[in-house]
């Protein structure tokens, strides 16, 4: 049996660097102070330059609703709304969020958004791990498009992966939530 001897590095460099950044690697630079609003609460925080927004919110602040399915912007499970736009929080550095407004699934649930009830009612979940990411992405869609067509819902959710295959229910749930919001708006009780 031929023997090959040699030293190799244990991991692939690029992946390693990215992973370290995403998972809160040791501090290499001084911490930075940022002010941001998360779910209507104001925070004044010192963050490491390499912390992602996901790491800050999930691991440091303990808002564990956002999930990490992949670790590199491939799955949509860590989606948060930053200044009105859905972003992949594993791909955004926390230090970039100074002065920004962040909305997580916890905030969406707290405000009683009809998406939560619609998702539960229509079983738009099975294992549920990816579900908060879908809810946040859908909320961002309804904020900018209160009456989306089925195609528009599909387009908006195209970046969210559900391995259990619950996709057909999401379109139903989002459209039902949209209809409910329309009624509330018409009744003068529209939510922000």
């Amino acid at each position: 049996m031929p023997l090959l001897r040699g030293r190799v590095r244990c991991r692939r460099g690029v992946e390693r660097a990215r992973f370290q950044d995403a998972q809160g690697a040791r501090p290499t630079r001084p911490r930075g102070g940022i002010r941001l609003t998360i779910n209507k609460s104001k925070y004044d925080l010192n963050v490491e330059p390499n912390w992602t927004l996901y790491y800050l919110i999930h691991d440091v602040l303990g808002l564990t609703g956002s999930k990490q399915f992949c670790d590199r912007g491939e799955c949509g499970s860590c989606t948060m709304i930053v200044d009105g736009k859905p972003v992949l929080s594993c791909m955004m550095l926390a230090i970039e969020c100074d002065g920004k407004t962040v909305e997580t699934v916890e905030g969406i649930a707290d405000e009683g958004h009809p998406l939560i009830e619609a998702y539960a009612k229509h079983h738009a979940m099975q294992c549920g791990y990816c579900t908060p990411g879908f809810v946040v992405t859908s909320k961002a869609l309804l904020d900018r498009n209160p009456d989306p067509t089925g195609e528009e819902v599909v387009e908006a959710l195209a970046g969210n992966i559900c391995r259990c295959g619950t996709y057909p229910q999401h379109v139903i749930a989002v459209k039902e939530a949209a209809a409910k919001l329309q009624v509330e708006k018409a009744a003068g009780r529209g939510q922000k």
Partner: protein, 817 residues
């Protein structure tokens, strides 16, 4: 015989007479089978409040990561961890040569392929977690420390191709375990033979042969595999992502010279899906073992998490190369099938490729063999189900025969339906003998499915229908039996809560998302006569009872019995309590809640106990138990002149032993069938396949949780289409390194791939579970990948026998590349 002992007797009869139809079904179903109950976990999951093991954070908790082998087959000769140890934030590095790590340990189910050493020094596939585990303040630091470990490797030759690996001169894939070659069979389930295939081929009008290649695909569970270990003195507290938590506990109790079961506190938070997969691999519990060692040495809780890439190292139980020979008559009756599969890395017992044809057809002569070949890739385990291989063969055999004869594949299906080589008359006799109503399940599934799919208008000669958009139109059909009917045991208890009379179901299980909690609550509600909203099941803690595993696929036929037994016994207990004197003390006892009645005079409906002959005499369960729920018998209330009752706690347990379908010593006939239909459009310029419609018709015997069943249908269809046309783990032949271990390069279906999916549930009652139920969770995702082949054949008129059916394979089949 007292009523109580009658109930006990009934339970015993049910326990041991489980080869027959349910003899004690309910007369009326109120919750069971209804559409609409909201998921018990719905709000928690939608709002992000559902906690998973990945979310667990404990004070002082360390994060542990593992070294991965960069080579497909290599041994560590020397390892220097000194630089890594000096990295700030690193607390501990556990090495493969640590004297405390045993050479062999109980690490779970199928430790055949790997060494069952918690942290091995030899890798048998690239990416294998081995060598070292680093515990640090954060995952990032642990990862960085891994990169500082210097290793001298002995790199060994490796195999990737099963045919090449089965050559006697091929290098050994796993010399530590298999010195004599890379071919290994357990010899139990890998061969099905009935009849004489040579005779069958001689009787045939025509004989065809074909080869199928199926590339490996994997589970992709959203929550990465992980766990947390915390020592509380000599007691272990564990949070675990694992589909078989209670079984894992059985292994854990043997570690470190033995940890008593009562000193293991197991938490099973919500589980971000497993699909079998990782749960079956031994480095899963190996990770937990390492966490336990490091936790004890550092006196801190340790959480280990595997990376997304690490979660890709495993394959399905259909990866391999298939050689199939089929003989058949001109009328579509198949006379013989001979199938051999070179199957990759089956650490799970490998089934025969003809298992389904044996179980659900009248084909008189079958010979099937699975050759399990070791190569240097991750192990093949049951993902969704271990029946991928038999259903792929059944689909291809039936449809190939239909195509050769120019027949409708549905006609071929009905001509061959049967069981164990016998025709439908024989099968119907078995149904009668076992106490079932005789119904033709396949016909019922086909009729309903055909009507919804509009099959008669859709099916056409292969390669003949071009659509206005330029694509070729095709439809496919396949069928098999409902096979999910596990063997095993389940224990479930129910407690009526003091103060409000709600019912709590008790039993630890893995919540993988199939909403079985609701199903059990529905059974309890109907059996006890309670409202569904008064019944709750939290399966995430360990009350000392456990459901049968796998918890998410096929165990309703076991756990359903257990919960039903418990509910029936508890109902009797409630009625006896309501008619018996209460609060026996030295001073005597008090009058029953329902005076001058016997238990059989009462019933419960909508959570209200009432006298059957005079329903105006009634009391809600809440009122009934509230009178018992004081701070203690008679404490501080007697002086108030209130006559409070006091009874024993209202609690009952049920357990069930099911001989089941997977026990090879107790085979039993399968009566329920399923039929599936798919429509595709194929772009012959690009080779792209568009799946435009799917209809699933499943005879589940009896629907318990309708939305859950439908969820398994459309969810399984999505996973199935993904497996059929997208999913393939690719290894570099030169280096043995996996090339697409991430969600960008390994494609899974997104919402844009989804088409309309019809979900039809047929209820013939011919399953061996309570009410005639048979499990559905494993079926559709297992069967739908194969269905793509006949649909694409119908579209382009050429068979594609390589899976997944990717655009390049379509173009190759069309002779365009």
């Amino acid at each position: 015989m007292s009523k109580q002992s009658e109930i006990e007797t009934e339970r015993m009869v049910e326990m041991f007479d489980n080869l027959r139809a349910d003899k004690y079904p309910l007369k009326e179903f109120k919750c069971i089978g209804q559409k609409g109950p909201r998921r018990v976990d719905g709000l928690a999951k939608a709002s992000g409040q559902a906690d998973y093991t990945m979310d667990v954070q404990l004070p002082g908790m360390l994060h542990m990561r593992f070294l991965d082998s960069p080579y497909p087959h290599a041994k560590i000769l020397k390892m220097d961890t000194s630089k890594a140890e000096k990295l700030p934030g690193v607390t501990y590095i556990l090495r493969y040569d640590d004297p405390e790590l045993p050479e062999s340990e109980n690490l779970g189910f199928f430790t055949v392929f790997q060494n069952d050493k918690p942290l091995d020094g030899i890798a048998h596939f690239e990416g294998q977690p081995m060598g070292a585990a680093v515990a640090a303040d954060t995952e990032g630091i642990a990862e960085e420390a891994l990169s500082l470990i210097e290793i001298e490797w002995e790199e060994r030759p490796f195999n990737l191709d099963p045919i090449a690996a089965s050559d006697p001169n091929a290098p050994l894939s796993f010399p530590e375990r298999y010195m004599d070659g890379n071919h290994w069979n357990r010899g139990v389930l890998d061969e099905d033979i009935h009849g004489d295939v040579e005779k069958g081929f001689a009787e045939a009008d025509r004989v065809i042969e074909f080869k199928i290649t199926r590339a490996g695909h994997t589970w992709i569970a959203p929550e990465r595999p992980c766990g947390v270990w915390k020592w509380n003195g000599d007691c272990a507290e564990i949070w675990l992502k694992n589909q078989r938590g209670y079984v894992a506990k059985r292994y854990i109790k043997t570690w470190f010279g033995g940890i008593p079961m009562d000193k293991i506190e197991l938490h099973m938070p919500y589980q971000g899906a497993t699909f079998g997969g990782w749960t079956h691999t031994d480095w899963n519990l190996g990770g937990l073992y390492c966490a336990a060692v490091v936790s004890r040495r550092t006196k801190r809780p340790v959480k280990y998490v595997f990376t997304r890439r690490e979660d890709f190292y495993g394959s399905s139980m259909d990866e391999g190369i298939y050689f199939v020979k089929v003989g058949f008559k001109k009328d579509g009756k198949i006379t013989a099938v001979d199938g051999t599969v070179y199957h990759v890395n089956a650490i799970h017992p490998a089934y025969s490729p003809l298992r389904h044809l044996h179980e659900n057809t009248r084909i008189p002569h079958l010979k099937g063999q699975t050759k399990s070949i070791w190569v240097n890739k991750g192990p093949a385990v049951a993902i969704r189900c271990e029946m991928l291989m038999p259903v792929l063969v059944q689909t291809m055999v039936m449809n190939r025969v239909a195509a050769e004869l120019g027949m409708d594949p549905i006609e071929v299906a009905l001509k061959n339906d049967g069981g164990q080589g016998h025709d439908m008359d024989w099968l119907n006799e078995q149904k009668k003998e076992r106490g079932f109503e005789v119904r033709d399940s396949l016909k019922e599934c086909i009729e309903k499915g055909k009507a919804e799919f509009k099959w008669d208008k859709s099916w056409h000669e292969p390669g003949t229908r071009k659509l206005p958009n330029g694509r070729m139109h095709g439809v496919g059909f396949t069928w098999t039996h409902e096979w999910s009917d596990s063997a095993g045991t389940g224990e479930i208890a129910i407690r009526i809560e003091r103060n409000d009379g709600t019912a709590t179901v008790l039993g630890i299980r893995c919540d993988n998302g199939v909403d079985a909690e609701n199903s059990y609550c529905q059974i309890v509600a109907d059996e006890l006569g309670m409202r569904l909203e008064d019944v709750h099941y939290n399966p995430r803690f360990d009350p000392g009872f456990h459901t049968n595993s796998p918890d998410s696929a096929s165990s309703m036929s076991i756990n359903g019995w257990a919960v039903r037994h418990a509910a029936r016994i508890l109902k009797q207990k409630i009625l006896e309590s309501a008619t018996s004197p209460t609060a026996p003390t030295q001073r005597g006892s008090y009058q029953p809640a329902f005076r001058n009645t016997k238990p059989e005079d009462l019933d419960i409906t909508d959570s209200v106990i009432f006298v059957k002959s005079d329903p105006s005499r009634q009391m809600s369960l809440a009122d009934f138990v509230r009178r018992m729920g004081t701070q203690g018998p008679l404490a501080n209330l007697e002086f108030q002149g209130v006559r409070e009752a006091w009874t024993e706690p209202l609690f009952a347990y049920g357990y069930h032993v099911q001989l089941g379908d997977y026990n090879p010593n107790h085979p039993r006939e399968k009566f329920c069938r399923q039929a599936h239909f798919m429509e595709v459009e194929v772009d012959t310029e690009t080779g792209e396949i568009f799946i435009t419609r799917i209809v699933n018709a499943n005879d589940v015997g009896k629907v318990i949780n309708r939305m859950s069943c439908e969820g398994q249908q459309y969810g399984g269809s999505v996973m199935g289409m993904s497996r059929g046309k997208l999913e393939e783990v690719i290894h570099d032949p030169a280096t043995g390194i996996m090339l697409n271990g991430n969600l960008i390069d390994y494609k899974v279906a997104t919402i844009k791939d989804v088409c309309p999916i019809g979900t039809i549930l047929v209820e013939t009652g011919m399953g061996y579970g309570p009410y005639g139920v048979v499990g559905i969770g494993e079926d559709i995702a297992t069967l739908v990948p194969a269905l793509l082949a006949p649909a694409v054949y119908n579209a382009i008129g050429v068979w594609i026998d390589e899976f997944p059916i990717t655009p390049d394979r379509v173009l190759k089949a069309l002779g365009k590349i």
